[in-house]
């Protein structure tokens, strides 16, 4: 986590490590502003970018922890869909929105708990376990919803989710609040410190008295909770619960974490970076819509940008 050099003066590579992702974000915004000034300088540009990014940021926050312990969580998209579908059914069935959302998030936690239990009990890599549960949770969503969408949420829910404070939509406030809580967890709690230790060196962690299985379990529960919250936020944005919702979202979540500087080998990364990563992806998406790039081509550009930005990051970080 603390990558510091011998010299007391701050080198360029250190600056890059700390603020590089912010730099990329600003650069992208500048490019966009130059290319399409007439559209870019509109009041709701910020709102749109934030609103498009918030679901991804929330999922990526959970994904960050899974990657931090040198694992991965491929089931996040399915957890978003299943917990969102559950919340939607409850609300449509007359349960108060706040309670319905709480129960939906709780379901997300349970699904994450199951991932953790399976990883611990089988000893298999989380990639395999969550590849399996991705399919299982998606299948459960289809069965539970009878393969049809659910809509007609109470106005109190849709109105609340449509609100904004200044230019910041509620969905983004939720995502930033979650990021703040998790940043506190990573920086200030023993739990957070132990998770970094576990990700850095599992054997050393065991000899230092860290309960490996318990911490693995907690990490997957955190990921489940984040996806559960994302599920509710997605309902507010789309206005309905789709059985195929959030399909493939794990890719963007992983991309956000990696662009944000999280090491795929575990033990290194920051919440701030993940939020930046999520916003960068949001800006790229928004920008391509603004520049009327066809949706098929968008995929290609996105993929190239992921590879490009991480390569650039490594290149600059390794320069002494």
């Amino acid at each position: 986590m603390n990558v510091k050099n011998k010299e007391s003066s701050v080198s360029f590579s250190q600056l890059w490590q700390r603020y590089g992702t912010l730099g990329i974000l600003v650069l992208l915004l500048v490019i966009l502003a130059v290319l399409q000034p007439q559209f870019f300088f509109k009041a709701d540009t910020i709102t749109q970018i934030l609103s498009q990014s918030s679901v991804n940021i929330l999922i990526a926050l959970g994904e960050f922890f899974a990657i931090l312990i040198a694992g991965i969580d491929l089931s996040v998209g399915s957890v978003v869909a299943l917990s969102g579908m559950f919340t939607a059914k409850l609300m449509v069935g007359g349960v108060a929105p706040l309670l319905a959302v709480t129960l939906g998030i709780f379901l997300g936690a349970v699904l994450g708990f199951l991932n953790g239990v399976l990883v611990n009990s089988t000893g298999l890599h989380p990639f395999i376990i969550t590849l399996g549960t991705q399919a299982i949770y998606r299948g459960a969503t289809l069965i539970f919803s009878n393969s049809s969408a659910v809509f007609g949420f109470p106005p109190s829910f849709t109105k609340f989710m449509a609100q904004r404070v200044l230019y910041v939509p509620v969905s983004a406030i939720i995502a930033f609040a979650a990021a703040l809580v998790l940043a506190f967890l990573t920086k200030k709690t023993k739990l957070g410190r132990n998770i970094y230790a576990l990700g850095g060196n599992k054997e050393s962690a065991w000899y230092s008295g860290i309960n490996i299985k318990l911490h693995t379990l907690i990490v997957f529960i955190i990921s489940g909770i984040c996806s559960g919250i994302a599920g509710a936020v997605l309902l507010g944005r789309v206005g309905s619960a789709e059985p195929a919702a959030a399909t493939g979202f794990e890719t963007y979540a992983i991309a956000a974490a990696i662009i944000g500087g999280t090491s795929f080998f575990g033990g290194k990364g920051k919440i701030f970076g993940v939020v930046m990563g999520g916003l960068i992806i949001g800006v790229i998406n928004f920008g391509m819509n603004l520049l009327s790039v066809s949706s098929t081509l968008q995929q290609v550009v996105m993929g190239a940008l992921i590879i490009g930005s991480v390569t650039l990051d490594r290149f600059v970080a390794n320069r002494k």
Binding site: N2, K190, L191, Y196, N201, E203, G209, I210
Partner: protein, 511 residues
């Protein structure tokens, strides 16, 4: 009189690594139809010498003569071409392939199929059958290697050497992980190979074995050549005398100390493990005493320490701290009782490469004082600073700042940081497993002095080491391990390298 045919000869071989001379003018030769034993303590230079013969290392000076041709150095290919094969302790067979594929990997028998060469499996199978017969392995050549036992894998390795028509087989501690019946089977194969005129280099610590299988023996000590003798004219005692005699600059014991009247601060009673690596071990540690554990690699010392510390399970046994029985079932519980373990492999089980010095030191006190079994509570930057600065100062860690990454430090300073994390957590009983492995001489003496001052402060110090001079210079009492049991315990005043080696290498029933 049989005519002696020399297969390979090494003359005055010198090998220098930056800062150390690993070999200082060694001469060694291998004759057809003999078993030439290479003997010496850890770090004596046996492996380096054999790596020069197999082309892994380039000698600094000296020459190698094989079938009349003189080489300044061998490449791995030269070595292979001249029929030299090494059977390493960590077997290099590929588990995912069948026996026959392992035997012929790199030179698979081929046949023409139209215009392309394809693998001739029939040819491979029939040749593999002959080779397996030659080494007495009764297995279908199509069996996957992962299904084999360690001794069977070793037989595959030997067969592999025969497949490439090797004339010289170098066996690096081949009996280290074999049972007695497997060893006699291996010896039968070795004798058969001898009859076929192969030259065998046999690296081993086990004196009884050496007497049984060897024809000649060459002893190395600290990279120097001690001598070559015919086995028939030496005794085990002679060999021990040739091996020992290294010195540590000074002793760290207090010659007037008498621990008999001190209180017992740590005790282990009847400790056993299911895998039989530790069998019914008991010992006591008294206040101020440093207790060392000697024995061959694989004799069960590290396994015992891991079981005491709760990192690996034990099947039975009791542990007492200050006379109170304690239940330890994980490192976390061990830490709560004040146990500490400085493990053998710093990189794998010691420090966190992603953490700086301060974070590495503070992780333990944070965990020890946490709520909810190590999970609950906040980290305090002030504590982190305080603890790390205190340990850096106390242990004289050479670093730019507590915020430097541990991975950037030298081995000795890394070891001090690891010790620092345990001291910061107020540990009372400290287990050191090979505490100076890969550490320079200067740092070694610093670590010895630290161990002594910890014992003087009233902390319990247990040391596992394969370096006899180290144990003799630091420990007050030395327990010798053999095959999972303590076979002998010495007061350091009565202990000598000879006595310890004899106790740790004697076969069952002897000594």
């Amino acid at each position: 009189m049989i005519r002696i045919k020399t297969l390979a000869e090494m003359k005055n071989v010198v090998k220098k690594f930056p800062g150390v001379t690993a070999l200082s003018g060694i001469s060694f030769d291998i004759r057809a139809g003999e078993v030439h034993v290479l003997l010496g303590e850890n770090g004596a230079g046996k492996s380096t010498l054999m790596k020069i013969l197999s082309g892994v290392h380039k000698p600094t000076s000296g020459e190698i003569i094989i079938s009349g041709k003189t080489y300044e150095y061998l490449t791995p290919f030269d070595s292979y071409q001249n029929g030299i094969s090494v059977i390493y302790q960590e077997l290099s067979v590929i588990n995912e392939l069948s026996i026959q594929e392992n035997l012929f990997i790199g030179h698979l028998p081929l046949k023409k199929l139209g215009f392309v060469n394809v693998v001739d499996y029939d040819e491979m199978n029939s040749r593999a059958k002959q080779l397996l017969e030659a080494v007495g392995l009764n297995r279908d050549p199509k069996t996957f290697v992962e299904e084999l036992s360690i001794s069977e894998k070793q037989q595959v390795e030997i067969a592999k050497a025969l497949a490439s028509d090797s004339k010289i087989l170098i066996m690096d501690e081949p009996t280290a992980s074999l049972t007695n019946s497997e060893i006699s089977h291996l010896f039968a194969i070795v004798r058969k190979l001898k009859k076929q005129g192969k030259g065998i280099v046999f690296i081993s610590h086990k004196l009884g074995e050496i007497m049984a299988i060897g024809d000649r023996v060459t002893v190395l000590k600290d990279g120097g050549y001690v001598g070559t003798k015919s086995i028939s004219e030496v005794t085990q005692d002679d060999l021990v005398t040739m091996m020992v005699g290294r010195q540590v600059a000074k002793n760290y014991q207090n010659p007037d100390a008498d621990f008999e009247k001190e209180t017992v601060i740590f005790e282990v009673k009847n400790l056993s493990r299911k895998d039989e690596k530790v069998k019914n071990v008991s010992f006591k540690l008294r206040k101020g005493e440093i207790l060392g554990f000697s024995g061959l690699v694989g004799s069960g010392r590290s396994e015992m320490m891991n079981s005491i510390f709760g990192a690996e399970p034990k099947s039975s046994g009791e542990i007492f701290i200050d006379g109170h029985s304690v239940k330890i079932n994980s490192p976390y519980t061990a830490i709560q009782y004040g146990l500490a373990m400085v493990t053998e492999n710093r990189r794998e089980t010691g420090f966190f490469h992603n953490f700086d010095i301060a974070e590495n030191i503070s992780i333990l006190p944070f965990i020890k004082d946490s709520s909810l079994g190590g999970v609950g509570g906040l980290v305090s930057g002030d504590d982190e600073k305080l603890w790390s600065e205190e340990q850096i100062k106390k242990l004289n860690v050479k670093c730019f700042s507590p915020r430097q990454l541990v991975a950037e430090l030298s081995g000795g300073n890394q070891q001090k940081v690891i010790l620092g994390k345990w001291l910061a957590a107020q540990s009372r009983i400290i287990i050191f497993d090979e505490p100076t492995k890969g550490i320079d001489v200067g740092s070694k003496s610093e670590i010895y002095a630290l161990m002594r001052s910890l014992a003087d402060e009233g902390k319990g110090v247990l040391v596992v080491s394969s370096e006899l001079p180290e144990l003799l210079a630091v420990c007050d009492t030395i327990a010798v391990f053999r095959e999972g049991e303590i076979v002998k315990t010495f007061d350091y005043r009565d202990a000598t390298e000879e006595k310890i080696i004899l106790a740790s290498t004697a076969q069952k029933g002897e000594g």
